[in-house]
Structures are given as C-alpha cells and as structure tokens.
C-alpha cells in the first residue's frame, strides 16, 4: 500500500469519528441549552440571569402550564387506550385471518403514517366543522374540543400501534397457536390465552409509541381545536408563547422535566422488554 493511500485511509477514519462527534454535539446542543436555562434566574426564558430554581418553582404555580400539561396527559391516555385496542385488533386480523382485498386494506391502514400530518389535520378540521358538528347539533348535542382532539389522535395512533404489534406477530412462532388449537382451544381462546399474552411486550411498546406521539402532537390538535375554544394541550400552549413579548422560563423547566419523565418511561419499557426476552430465550 502506498504512503499516500495509507494517509488517505487514516484521514477517512478520523473524519468519520469527527463527523460522529459533531453530530452528537449538534443533537445535544439545544438540550444542553434547555437544561442550563431552566436553572436561570432571569424572568425571560431566552436570557441567562444566574443560577436559580425559580423556573421550577413558578412552573408549579402557573395555572396555564399545569392545566395544559393535565390536558395533554388526559388526551394522550384516552387516545392511547382506544388506539391500542383498535390497532392490536387490526394487526391480529391482518396477520392471522383470511381477508379479501388484503392488499388494498393494508395500503389504506398504512396511509395515516405516510402522508404529511398537515393533510390529515386539515381533513379532520373540515370533517368536524362541515359534517360532524352540524350533524350532531341537529340532535341537540355538541362535540367538545377535547373529544375532537382525542378522536384525531386515535386516528393516527391506530396505524402506529398496528405496525408495531404486527411486526411482533409476524415473528411469533405460529406453531404455538397451532399447539393451542390442537389441544382443543377455540380460535378465541387461542387469541386470549396464547396470542395476546405473548404479544404483551409489543402491545406495550405500541401503546408507549402512541402515548408519545399524542403528547407531542401539534398539527392535529391545532387544527381540531380551532374556533378559539381555549382548550390547550402542552404543545398548543408552547406554540402560543411565540406571540408573547417574553417567553416565560417555566418553558425550559417543563422541557427538562419532560426529558426526565421520558427517561423514566424508557427505562420502564426496557425493563418490560428485558423480562419478556428472558422468558422467550
């Protein structure tokens, strides 16, 4: 090997390391800034004013943030619950039953994942404004903004839950279900006693994914709550801050706390997964 070639090879190697390092710095720069500024004493989120825990103290007493956080959790919990049931059922049907037009149905249920979310958000806005609300009001009922938001979140979460559960279902040894049938279980008993328990880790992963997506969602929530209803989830609250003269430092505290909460959720998920892996091994 020539000296030039060797030199070039070594350079490529160091460039690789450098690029990786820079990318990680790029990824963590904003996070670092967030956490740093959450300990700022300044009354403005974007200005450093010395160390203090004021932001965290204010966070607990700011009714707007607390109610937004609460709304987010309520929406995410209810949307996740229903989407997990519907998505798991869909995965079971698509993977285990004989279905006509399977190809078209599959393509259709994947669509909510692949099309830009803003299109879905616009569709839901029009659907609620032009069809559902007028329809429901003729029988003297109304659709409250939280209901509309939950319905929207369920819609995109179903597909994600289905993808996660289905992937696991595909890897699941089919002979386990056959063994259950062979031992006299009816198809329903097989699902309840064998398939679902074995799918539990995937269902939990799917639910966690749906929960995260719902907590983070902006587009669908934003479009589904138009009309100045005043119902705000955390992302909506954060978005509304842009119009203000000064962004309150509580925002940084919320962000830091969310990071910590997510870390705990992930640790929990990993724990569940590890337990199920050791069972399967």
């Amino acid at each position: 090997m020539g000296r030039l070639k060797r030199w070039a090879d070594q350079t490529i190697g160091s460039l690789l390391v450098l690029d990786t390092l820079l990318t990680y710095i790029f990824l963590y720069l904003p996070i670092g800034v967030l956490i740093l500024y959450s300990f700022s004493a300044s009354r403005y989120a974007l200005v450093w004013g010395g160390f203090s825990l004021d932001a965290y103290r204010r966070l607990l007493t700011d009714p707007e943030i607390v109610s937004a956080l609460l709304n987010s959790v309520i929406v995410a919990t209810s949307a996740t619950a229903l989407a997990t049931v519907l998505g798991t059922a869909l995965a079971l049907a698509l993977e285990r039953a004989r279905i006509r037009w399977r190809g078209s149905i599959e393509a259709f249920v994947y669509l909510p994942i692949v099309i830009p979310e803003i299109v879905m958000a616009v569709g839901l806005l029009l659907f609620f404004a032009q069809v559902l609300r007028p329809l429901v009001s003729t029988v003297g009922l109304g659709i409250s903004p939280p209901l509309a938001v939950i319905a929207g979140h369920i819609t995109f979460s179903i597909s994600y839950v289905m993808v996660v559960v289905r992937a696991r279902l595909r890897d699941l040894d089919k002979s386990l279900e056959e063994a259950a049938l062979d031992l006299g279980a009816t198809p329903w008993q097989v699902v309840r006693r064998v398939t679902l328990p074995l799918l539990a880790p995937a269902i939990i992963s799917g639910a966690l994914l749906a929960f995260t997506l719902s907590l983070d969602d902006f587009y669908v929530t934003y479009f589904a709550t138009t009309g100045g209803s005043g119902f705000k989830t955390l992302p909506l609250y954060l978005y509304a801050l842009q119009g203000r003269a000064a962004i309150p430092p509580q925002m940084n505290a919320v962000a830091s706390l969310m990071l910590v909460a997510s870390l705990m959720l992930i640790a929990l998920a990993l724990l569940v997964q590890r337990r199920s892996y050791s069972r399967r091994a």
Partner: protein, 276 residues
Amino acid sequence: MSTRTLLWPGLVWLLLFFAVPVGIILVISLGQRAPDGTIRWGFSLDNYLRLLEPLYWTGPFWNSLGLAALTTILCLVLGYPVAYSIARRSAAVKHLLLFFVILPFFTNFLVRIYAWFILLRPEGWIAWLLRSLGLDLALLGSPVGVLIGLVYGYLPFMILPLYATLERFDFSLVEAAHDLGASRWQSFWKIIFPLSRPGVIAGAVLVFVPVLGEFITPKLLGGGKVPMFGVLIEEKFLGRVPDWPLGAAMALALMILVSLVLARYFQQLKESRWVG
C-alpha cells in the same frame, strides 16, 4: 365469529376519521370562497388552476421542495457516518449510542425549536462565532435557520433506517474487498454504499415527505419570512383571510406530490430488493 371480525372496529374508525375527511378535502377544494369567508359549494378546478399562479406556486413550491431536498441531503451526510460508526460497535455500545440519538426527541419538539431560538438569535453564541469569523449571516428569520431546525428535527429519521441496514450488513464483505486490494475509500463506494441503498432510500423518504408538509419549523425559525406549503395551508385555514377551498386544494396537491414520491420509492425498493 372468527379473527376476521377484529378487522372491523379499526377499519370503520379509519374510514370515518381518515377516508371521509380526505374525501371532504376533495369536495371542498372544488368549491369557492364566498365573499364573507364561508364556502360556496361547486364543482370547478379553479382552485387548482390558481395554484399555478406564481404567488402560490413558485415561491412556496421551490422553497418547500428545495428545503426538503437540502434537508434530506444534509441529514444523509451527517447521519451516514453516525449510523456507520454505531453499526460497527459491540452490541451493548450500539444500543447505548442509538439511545442517545433518540433521547433528545423525547422532549416536545416545540421546545427543541425554542432551544434553537436561543442558540440562533443575533446576540447568541453561534451568531457571535460566525461574526468573528467574518460571516454576518442572519440565522433567525432566514432559510438557513429553517434548514438548521429541519435537519435537527429529522436527523433521527435518517439515522435509524440507515443503522437498520448497516447493522445487518456483513462486514466480512469489506474485509474481502480489502483482501483484494481495495482501499477503505474504494470499498465504501463499491461495496458498503451500494448495499446500504435500501436504508438510504428509506431514510430519504422518511425525511423528505414530512418536511414537505412542515409548517411549525418555518413558522417559528423562519419568522413567517420563509413560505413553505405547510405555512401557506395553515394561513388559508386559520389565517386572517381564510380561504378553505384554496387551502383544501393545496393540501390535496401536497398529498398527490407525496404519493408520487412514495410510488417512486416503492418502485426503487422493488428494484433494490435483490441487494437487500
């Protein structure tokens, strides 16, 4: 009763809250905006023809497409070496490194954009660093700021599929290439990159498609001065002068554009299956 029954609840839900709404977008896009801002139902392609006007088309179209393409390329350039480095580590280190790629995305994305707000503002460190290098770039309220925000927001969508293909990659092929006298540079371009094409394509689609519909990053980091499809759509629905039929036409045009990209993607996927 059989497992087939399980199909219905989910399917009906998606038909009602997804298929029907998309159908309504189509119906409304064929109508007109009445002077009082409400919808006048109709059946005309006027809104689609209006999309061809420079005001709606040229600016937002090229901005969206250009920014989406640039974001994709930058994500690939930044993300490939990272995915490659991770894939070559031992199992324990791999998972840790991958975890640290995803971790920042567990805080709300609006918050992350605000963090960039802090970083990119004129009196911030980055602007100061650039100024001292003799570069006086406006970062906030410019396409550069939007681009940084987009790359930041979508980088994991590139890294994850790339990692997934590279992780399964048989690196003894590279050893074989070295053994046959190839340099690292040559073995990368002749062996690794072609064989990781499915991951590259998947990553590109996962970045390109959602960026086309982005509205929040350009709105916050572009300060409304960088028009993209998403921004325009939002304006037509929730802005001061709403025009729902035109907005509906835009949303549908976006969906068609995305479908074309996806159709091309699946075709590519079929063609490159033999290497996967």
